[in-house]
Amino acid sequence: MTTERARPNYVAVWVWLVVLMIAGVLASYLPFAKSAVIFLVFVVAATKALLVALYYMHLRFESGLIYAMVIVPVVLVIALTFLLFPDLVFHH
């Protein structure tokens, strides 16, 4: 049953990952405002992570149960980090 599943082109995904990695490194040298550069660098990193998860970990072809198991900790980690911002970050 699993043998019939369509599989993504793994090499094409790798090419994208390498292109994005180079783009991320180059973006860090852009003469923009520091916050804009950081935002750009992390958008690139998140895209790379998404590509690995969707195509190499086959998340794109998984059921909702697996998605739920991944989304909960990711949302928690992001939320918990932001909740710590008020004192440490905004007061400095």
Partner: protein
């Protein structure tokens, strides 16, 4: 080919796969806690960019490339076992192990040059975070190498169970994703 008792009735998800994803969810919290603390500490204090400037971006970029490539060879090992290609499985597993060892070798070179330049875990908070986060990640890489090496030995003895390769792959790709975030966090900002 479907092995017996590989899936539960009413769902096509392997119990082993649920187990690995469950484990990865806890790993997200483990690394997320560290990364979150790093972000908050960094945004709350100044001068960290100057510390980060002592790290070598080219060396880390090469290491990122090594790990991204190892993810590709790992998923190709799965592709090979899925297609019933034992030679491809052995080759790709071997390449994945080799690339994992290369990553650790480059990381060891980085550590030694940083320590030689006087940057140790007690130099400051940035360096404590740097050695803790990359050290924990390197331990994960080591665990992945051992797992993949065990699979390689099994493959030489005629492993046909594609699920083991898939599950080991899930872990290996997760370790790659952690590095995808550690690289910009520590080196590029």
């Amino acid at each position: 080919m479907e092995t017996t008792a590989a899936t539960r009735a009413g769902t096509d998800i392997l119990p082993g796969k649920v187990g690995v994803w469950w484990f990865l969810a806890s790993e997200v919290m483990l690394f997320g806690g560290l990364i979150g603390s790093f972000i908050v500490s960094r945004l709350g204090s100044s001068g960290w960019s100057g510390e980060a400037a002592h790290l070598s971006v080219p060396v880390a970029a090469i290491n990122t490339l090594v790990l991204l490539t190892s993810s590709m060879t790992m998923v190709m090992a799965f592709g090979a076992v899925e297609k019933g290609d034992p030679r491809g499985l052995r080759t790709y597993l071997f390449l994945t192990v080799l690339l994992g060892l290369t990553f650790l070798g480059i990381k060891a070179y980085e550590y030694s040059s940083e320590v030689a330049a006087g940057f140790t875990p007690v130099t400051g908070l940035f360096w404590s975070f740097y050695y803790t986060m990359t050290g924990l990640h390197a331990l994960h890489v080591l665990a992945g190498i051992i797992t993949n090496l065990a699979l390689f030995v099994m493959a030489r003895r005629g492993l046909r169970n594609q699920h083991r390769v898939e599950l080991a792959g899930l872990y290996w790709h997760f370790v790659d994703i952690v590095w995808i975030f550690l690289f910009p966090l520590l080196y590029l900002t």
